[in-house]
Amino acid sequence: MDHDTDLELLRDLSSEEHGPAPEALTRARAALLEHARRNPRPFGGRGLRRPRSPLRLEHVAFGLSALVALAVVAVFLSARGGQRAGSPGSGGLELIYQAQPTPQTPVVTVAALDRAVSVIRTRVKLLGVDGASIRTLGRDEIVVRLPEVKYTARAEAEVGQTARLEFYDWEANALAPNGKPVAAQLLAQVPAAVAISQGGRGGPGGPGGGSVSLYDAVKLASKQPQSISPSNARGGSEYYMFGTGGSPACAAAARFHGVPAAPVGSHCLLAGGPGTTSAAGLISDLPSGVTVAEGHRFVVKQGTVVLEATPSDFSHPPKIADPTTQFYVLRDHAALLGNDISNPHQSTDTGGSPDVAFGFSAKGAHEFQSVTSTIAHRGATLGGPASQPQLQHFAVALDNILITVPSIDFQTYPDGVDGSGGAQITGGFTTRSARDLAIELRNGALPITLKQISVKTTPAQPR
């Protein structure tokens, strides 16, 4: 008898179809409230037990599937460049990183180092390099050997990046095609704004529901003025270059990125993306045989961000260069960053369904209450039919991909969600998708910094 069988036997044995009788439930609830009224002061407290340090929680989820866990972190790297290994004879690369603590991960533990190795392994895989070796060296170093890399600079730049997690007030930051924030257009029920706010079949932030192509998103984003503020999650500008659908340049780019060619009448990404922060980087990013003259350059200035729509499957998120991939444009005023949250983990909601819970730093708890309060007040102001209130949302993005855009129920939380006890994102999760989201959040919440301490090119390996 295996383990599941004996549990099933016990469950079958004592199956209880009926829940509590409504009148008994009402009685019990009233008794509790009466008891609470008569005995308002907590009894026998040894004082409040504060949450334990998030650090110990680092051990919770590292053993989970690295491929699924890290694909999102790495996808934009791969998609942006989509580069494959260079031709034989292009030489190899050896990079040595030293892991350094971050405020979120003050001690570089074995678990943190192993997680960084997994992150790098996935990134390398997405670079398309076969036969790479990634291993730890001593207590805090990671050696990455790539047997053949044509785009050495790219590999060097991307392999050691730190994952980036941001929380935004969705409607306040998302821009409608007219360039105005969605929130400002909801009272007037401007259809494009409502579509972005309420989303399509997959909910807000997903493909459909007001999302646009990368070209349209970047074009809109590039028209926004520079807006520098402490709440910017990223500094500097981002560079993109697009070609005309059906052109030889687009065909070359499609081959290079490993995506379908953009049809006539549309545009294709030739080079650049969220990680390209200079015009020179844009040029070095062009696929071979494609010249600057064949492309149209856009610069997204600081204060605006282009985010990929929530992938339906984190393990196979669409590539940024794929002409069918969908995007949103947001003002870059992040309410919280990765270091504001702690201990993201898969949990269970009250109905027994999987969900994702996490805690906050003291500052994060305050910011969370503040942003969810703003969101709830906006929801209450907008109202809508009781059966279908115009719920407002916040968005969570990891490495430029929206990973979830949950709503705030303004009736239950009219003044926002008190972040001091953490928060949970609930609704429509499977155990796997909840676990995946928890890992995505963890990747952004518990990063370590990888300082490159050595780089050398190695001769091409004989085949």
Partner: protein
């Protein structure tokens, strides 16, 4: 992805209830149904209302001692309910005997398909119920928190106030004894063993 929403956690509710006692009702609304089902399965509907209600009264009284680092309060609540069940061992024993009787073979309804499994289960279930009643109390609590409350090992450790290693050994022992009890192992396993 379907519509998702953000909620406060149980520990947030409990912290809030320290200043605003009525806020504790949110914890009741979230968990009462599941706690009721758990105690009902163990001690029967006759006493489930009383036990479930008492669980929340005790939880309310003890809320200042709650470890706010535990975002999900269900292990804590199941732990309180499990403690309460100890005062009702006779009711629980009666319940398991009743299950054993109710699980006896009841004819051939449901067609011939799967009849073997049903007969198998109907033979094994009374034996399992009887074996369960003979387990050590702490082992039975661990096993039923796993099987009926769907808690994982860490949550059972929180509910019963012992280290995870102890939970593991209790569960191993409980399962070994359950499986070793006459009539509990599935027919196929018995045949294999007797070869």
């Amino acid at each position: 992805m379907s519509q998702r929403s953000v909620q406060g956690t149980d520990s947030g509710v409990i912290e809030q209830s320290l200043a605003d006692p009525a806020a504790f009702a949110a914890l009741f609304d979230r968990h009462y149904d599941r706690i009721w089902r758990y105690v009902c399965r163990r001690a029967g509907p006759g006493i489930a209302d009383e036990l479930a209600s008492e669980t929340f009264l005790r939880a309310f009284t003890a809320r200042a001692k709650y470890d706010l680092g535990q975002l999900d309060a269900s292990p804590w609540l199941y732990g309180i309910a499990t403690n309460l069940l100890r005062g009702h061992r006779r009711a629980e024993a009666r319940r398991w005997r009743a299950y054993a009787r109710a699980a006896e073979p009841t004819g051939t309804h449901g067609g011939l398909e799967g009849v073997e499994q049903r007969v198998d289960a109907s033979v094994r279930a009374p034996a399992a119920a009887a074996a369960l009643a003979r387990l050590k109390r702490v082992d039975r609590d661990a096993l039923l928190l796993l099987a009926l409350a769907d808690l994982d090992y860490e949550a059972i450790a929180i509910a019963t106030g012992v280290p995870v290693g102890t939970v593991r050994s209790r569960l191993n022992r409980a399962r070994r004894q359950l499986r070793g009890a006459p009539g509990v192992a599935p027919a196929a396993a018995v045949t294999e063993g007797s070869d």
